[in-house]
Symmetry: C2
Subunit: 304 residues, 2 copies
């Protein structure tokens, strides 16, 4: 069994690639919920949904997010009402949020809902929100405090960030399922998600970092930076703004206490010695998953 600490798109692609190499029933994803939001009364879990849709083969490849075959009737009507329509929720996608919100109001947990949605769509990877408590990643920016999605979607991550805090995380607990997965997996993988805003909120949930630290030799991380750039999102920019080096070396420094092995792209091979000097094993392969063959090669490197 392997467990993958996961954000959204990058993690979803790695999980899909891993599912092609081993039985998906042997894979658990521990998923960030720091970017969850309540909008229009609906509880929305973007990372969980992105992974679920991708593993169900329902993801929208054109948009890069959301569901295939999506329609936008509700959003169009909401825009007519001059309602908040900056966070685009398609009609199919809305059904997910209505389902989750109703189940939560009936006393279900996010863990329950993730399991139910996976069952409906035939997803066999176990998706576990890292916690069922409410945590919220907040950005201290040049224009004031912003919630995750205000920063990421509304302002298209194009404002200067001075700091990031995860509200509620100190009082949160990992679920029992998460603790069991982290303790019983033969390998723990850190997906090529944003270290600061996807992975760090998971590590901050009390107990998680400690388990990874203790099991450091079994932890393999995949670099989200290739030649100093993120394939998607603001990881490179945020690393610089928050005083880190925007290269795979900077990411290695960020993770070195909790990982034993770091997988970097071939173009970054010249950084290997520097990373190994931090006491981290390095594997060099293709860390881009655009082509199926490359995704397969990366998955095999993660499992090797």
């Amino acid at each position: 069994m392997i467990t993958v600490l996961s954000g959204g798109v990058g993690a979803a692609r790695l999980l899909r690639a891993l599912s092609g190499e081993i039985d998906p029933g042997e894979i658990t994803a521990v998923v960030n919920v720091g970017d969850d939001l309540v909008l229009h009364g609906l509880t929305i879990c973007p990372d969980l949904d992105t992974i679920t849709y991708t593993l169900a083969g329902l993801n929208n490849d054109q948009l890069g997010w959301g569901l295939a075959g999506e329609t936008w009737r509700v959003m169009d009507e909401l825009a007519e009402l001059e309602g908040a329509s900056w966070f685009r929720l398609g009609d199919r996608d809305l059904a997910t949020h209505l389902y989750r919100s109703q189940r939560l109001s009936e006393g279900a947990t996010k863990t329950d809902v993730a399991r139910e949605l996976c069952q409906r769509w035939g997803v066999r990877v176990s998706l576990l929100p890292v916690t069922d408590d409410e945590i919220a990643t907040v950005f201290d920016t040049e224009i004031g405090a912003l919630s995750f999605q205000e920063y990421f979607v509304r302002h298209r991550h194009d404002v200067v960030v001075r700091g990031i805090t995860v509200q509620g995380v100190a009082e949160s607990s990992p679920t029992i399922e998460v603790l069991r997965a982290l303790e019983e997996s033969s390998r723990i993988v850190i997906a090529p998600s944003n270290p600061l805003i996807s992975i760090d909120p998971i590590l901050q949930v009390p107990g998680v970092r400690e388990i990874l630290h203790a099991r450091r030799d079994d932890v393999v991380a995949v670099s989200p930076l290739i030649n100093g750039a993120a394939l998607k999102g603001p990881a490179d920019r945020l690393l610089v703004e928050l005083g880190h080096e925007a290269t795979c070396v900077g990411v290695a420094d960020f993770y070195h206490e909790v990982m034993g092995t770091f997988i970097i792209d071939e173009v970054d091979a010249h950084h290997a010695a520097q990373i190994e000097s931090r006491g981290v094993n390095v594997r060099v392969t293709t860390a881009i998953m655009a082509a199926p063959d490359d995704a397969r090669r990366l998955a095999r490197a993660v499992l090797a």
Copy 2:
């Protein structure tokens, strides 16, 4: 200025007919919110929405509820997820509920939201929820306690009712706008809505019944029963189940302390003397609003 105590469909039709006779800006509707519900995380106000849609000319005449040109993508997807889909929410209609829920979460009141939606759709009648506090009509039935919409929609009002209570109503307050409308109108109208489940929850909000009682001579009610039958809904059946007479006389007995004039249909003219013996003036006209001419005649009788 006139003020109309209002439930859903019957009140909406009367308000539309009244709007054809006098300036809609002179009409205020005080609307029941005892049948409001929170479903899928969304706050839904069926009576307010029915009236708004009808006065905006957007109501769905085929269904008898909801919006014209409606589509059902979200509900179809929700049914695929085996989510709660017994309360049908169309895609256009959902935009209303998303708008309201978001505004409420931002600190707006139901009164604010009703005003905003009316502005967007050019509705000039003032729609006032009777209270901005939460109240909930609950049915004690042969199969246990049911919320309003569980009783009305899920079970199609086809279970025996032993009692009706309005939770929270004793601690609720009418809004200042409602009090002003009731005190300053030249006439107060009780729409031909269900007396027990649409009008009574309004009367139970502390202060409302007292104002009507004091202004009894200015209060005109329209009978919702014609020849002992409700045109729509379970008013006749509920009157019997709860020990009232299922005729316009039974309704007159229910209202006689708060109304000075009762408008009944021609087919019920033979009840006039019996009702007048309760100290209530009776006007006889067509109380059915199916044909535009009849609706106009009823509106004129209400205004006479």
